[in-house]
């Protein structure tokens, strides 16, 4: 195994524990960070990936799912998803839901049907920590995806190659690992994969059952066969591993690390949980160069801030801010999802973050004040105390705790993950 994928030795210190929960979730209250400090990296990774025996909050959220789904309100659905991220104990399940939403980026702007969008996001929550081939198969038959990539118009004799293209480019292989011919032929294999009464429907009469050659294999290939062929490529493991590494570990992982994790992933049958357990225990994950190397997404920033400050803000109050910050759930910018990293930050999104932080801190209550509040909440948010210069600038006479916390959230360091 690649040296950097071997488990990090020792036990977690505060900074490492805070790092783990910011990445394998949206950040944790101080008590959880402190409890995790007793664990080894392998034990901590297992806890983060497998979650608690029972997630009571998730059960409560499930109990209102039918109402949310039937609400006909995009804001209600978004609020429900954000509330899950803020409150569910099995944080990684929610984080992976968001990861797959970005991976299979489908937008309500084109799909329009809210129920379909809800059902698609459920796939990410329900299958997101399982085996990738199962998720891929489900997404390929998902009505929202079929509409999003125009597969409804993909018919024998007049193929629409959109799904075939994105399947290879964005879902499994990455650009450069297939040919234009592969796309056209794959498109033919998915002819007749349509929707009927809101459900997947295979229209045999519109399916092109003829011979095709995809990724070097020739035969009367069907859609299922094309998925298998894509998954059999080394490029697929590498591509998915690269995306996981860039989302969870570091902005520019080495090609060797991508290939090594990709090989592990392919070897374990694309078992997402097993891959994540390996990754979250690894030396690469805990490397000093990996810590605070990522830029928080707007959801990571807002949801994480409420969790780490242990304050309660109604998700609905913040929905408008997410548009301005550049991350609207169920409406990613395009098929490629959110590019992330430094692209999250520009003048506009920075100010939107500062204003969202202002909103978060308006209802913030605490007995602490002044320099004490600055140090205490600084540590909760950053995993360590803010530097002396920042403390001096933040704590000035007459400035209340709400405004101290607002300034802490406006520290550039609070936007690093």
């Amino acid at each position: 195994m690649h040296e950097q994928l071997k488990p990090q030795p020792g036990r977690l210190d505060r900074d490492a524990a805070a790092h783990l929960w910011r990445r394998a979730g949206f950040g944790a209250p101080s008590a959880l960070v402190e409890n995790t400090m007793k664990l080894s990296p392998v034990e901590a990774a297992r806890l983060a990936v497998r979650g608690p025996k029972r997630d009571v909050v998730a059960e409560e959220m499930e109990s209102i799912y039918a109402i949310v789904r039937g609400s006909g309100s995009l804001d209600t659905i978004r609020g429900w998803l954000i509330r899950r991220m803020m409150s569910c104990e099995h944080q990684l399940r929610e984080k992976m839901g968001l990861f797959w939403h970005g991976h299979f980026a489908t937008s309500v702007r084109k799909v329009t049907d809210l129920d379909w969008m809800c059902r698609q996001y459920r796939l990410f929550l329900d299958l997101g920590l399982g085996r990738f081939p199962v998720l891929l198969d489900a997404v390929t038959r998902d009505p929202a995806m079929i509409r999003w990539l125009d597969n409804e118009t993909n018919r024998k004799g007049s193929p629409n190659e959109n799904f075939g293209r994105e399947l290879f480019e964005l879902f499994t292989l990455g650009d450069g690992n297939y040919t234009e011919k592969d796309i056209q032929e794959a498109g033919r294999a998915f002819t007749g994969w349509h929707i009927l009464h809101g459900k997947f429907h295979f229209s045999a009469g519109l399916h092109d059952a003829g011979e095709k050659t995809v990724l070097g294999t020739t035969g009367n290939l069907r859609g299922e066969d094309v998925l298998k062929l894509a998954l059999a490529q080394d490029a697929c493991g590498r591509f998915l591993a690269g995306k996981l590494l860039r989302f969870f570990v570091e902005p520019a992982p080495s090609a060797e690390l991508e290939a090594a994790l990709g090989a592990e992933m392919k070897r374990n049958g694309y078992d997402v949980s097993a891959t994540l357990e390996l990754m979250f225990a690894s030396k690469a994950f805990y490397a000093p160069s990996a810590r605070r190397s990522l830029v928080k997404s707007p959801l990571e920033f807002v949801v994480g801030s409420t969790r780490m400050l242990e304050t309660n803000v109604s998700p609905k109050e913040l929905l408008g801010a997410f548009g301005a910050m550049g991350q609207e759930l169920l409406a990613p910018p395009n098929v490629k999802g959110w590019p992330g990293g430094r692209t999250w930050i520009n003048t506009a999104t920075w100010l939107a973050r500062i204003n969202a932080a202002h909103r978060i801190t308006r209802e913030f209550e605490s007995q602490r004040s002044g320099a004490d509040a600055c140090r205490y909440f600084g540590r909760a948010l950053l995993g360590r105390e803010p530097d002396a210069r920042a403390q001096k600038a933040i704590v000035q006479s007459g400035v209340g705790t709400k405004d101290i916390v607002h300034a802490l959230l406006a520290l550039p360091e609070s936007h690093l993950n």
Binding site: E161, R165, G176, R292, N334, N346, W350
Partner: protein, 396 residues
């Protein structure tokens, strides 16, 4: 900034102004030099159907290829030489009559890539080499001329992520959805406190990047608010988001902001099915917005300072598909607007009888358009920015 200060700055003898004095005063250093030329990039996202934008007139092949989507000849706005504007682009008619509209036909690049993302990246990076697509052509230009005076070099007006065209190695180009959304909650005092807490330490790492972005955000916020204070000239614009953004750009140019590059986008051009009405509507947004923008600039004597260029990642297949739409294609026209350009048709319409894998062939490389803009409009060095010398197109 005066020359002495610039020289000292370069020699490392003084700090950048914004690092030493509050942003409110730094703004004084932003005064635009009179005659500074402005470039507006207008991206048509999704692959605009060039064939139904600049429509062939008197070609049987067009009607054969487009039985369902063709635009009748008596409807097009004749531009002579066998082409016409789609009727929904009527808003551009006054520009054409003024010689302020140039149509560069048959623009593309060798071995066209039909992925939206890859082709957009090719256009924005101006690189056919996949390993050299980390920066954009405008970002590299801004890197080269980096003025280091705290001025905002370029501005994207769009809710989406920053266009790769504007990404540089050193330059941070901000992006706003609406220039008036820029107001920091918490009062003036809050801004000073937040700015001080953020710190001014420089650095190329992610933290340094965040600090620089924060600093820019706070200082730009105030000046934009002033430029857009009144509704001046707004009545002449349609209500579309594109038109409203162009109105804001006109006001920012008028107010003397030294920003030379603006980028806007019109999305929805990926018309795989039932294209006709949807495409006409998009062109109407485009033509009416650019028409209003030009009229506004002209009225205020600014039209000769601004060049707008609209482009798309690719055109669409010549033959319509069976969903009454069109699939991803290759060559397409680039439209250039401005009071100081050489209007008219540049280059012939690509032949409909000599297609390449069903697509129109390009005869003008998109980097020739860029070279023209860089060398003759922005007075930059296209050879170093594009990595090669490209022959210009005489629209400037």
């Amino acid at each position: 900034m005066d020359i002495d200060r610039r020289t000292l700055l370069k020699a490392g003898l003084v700090l950048p102004m914004a690092a030493t004095i509050p942003s409110l005063f730094a703004r004084a250093a932003w005064a635009a030099e009179p005659g500074d030329r402005v470039l507006v990039l207008l991206q048509l996202e999704g692959g605009n159907d060039g064939l139904n934008t600049i429509v062939p007139v008197g070609h049987d092949a067009y009607h054969r290829l487009r039985p369902g989507l063709r635009i009748a000849e008596d409807q097009v706005i004749d531009l002579k030489d066998g082409v016409g504007l789609a009727p929904s682009l009527a808003g551009l008619r006054p520009l054409w009559d003024d010689g302020a509209l140039a149509v560069v036909q048959g623009v593309g690049y060798p071995e066209p890539n039909r992925s939206h993302f890859t082709s957009t990246d090719i256009w924005h990076s101006a690189s056919l080499d996949p390993s050299r697509r980390n920066t954009g052509w405008i970002g590299r230009m801004l890197d080269e001329e980096s003025r280091g005076d705290g001025a905002v070099p370029g501005l994207q007006l769009d809710p989406g992520p920053l266009s790769l065209a504007l990404v540089g190695e050193k330059t941070v180009v901000p992006s706003v959805r609406d220039a008036r959304d820029f107001k920091v909650r918490g009062g003036d005092n809050a801004v000073a406190r937040l700015e001080a807490a953020a710190g001014d330490a420089k650095g190329t790492d992610t933290l340094g990047f965040l600090r620089e972005s924060a600093r820019q955000a706070y200082s730009l916020s105030d000046s934009l608010e002033r430029a857009l204070d009144a509704d001046r000239g707004r009545a002449g614009y349609p209500g579309s988001p594109l038109a409203q953004r162009l109105w804001q750009i006109a006001r920012m140019v008028e107010s003397g902001l030294p920003t030379r590059i603006y980028a806007v986008k019109l999305s929805g051009f990926d018309t795989h099915s039932l294209q006709k009405d949807a495409h006409a509507q998009l062109l109407r947004f485009l033509g009416d917005a650019v028409g209003a923008f030009y009229a506004d600039l002209k009225k205020h004597g600014l039209d000769k300072r601004v060049l707008l260029v609209s482009y798309s990642e690719f055109g669409r297949r010549a033959k319509e598909n069976r969903s009454l739409g069109t699939d991803h294609g290759a060559a397409a026209p680039v439209l250039v607007a401005g009071g100081a350009i050489r209007g008219g048709l540049h280059g012939a319409h690509p032949s409909l009888d000599d297609l390449q894998a069903g697509d129109l062939k390009h005869h003008t490389d998109f980097r020739q358009v860029y070279a023209t803009i860089l060398d003759r409009w922005l007075r930059a060095d296209s050879e170093s920015i594009l990595g090669a010398k490209f022959k210009g197109v005489p629209f400037v």
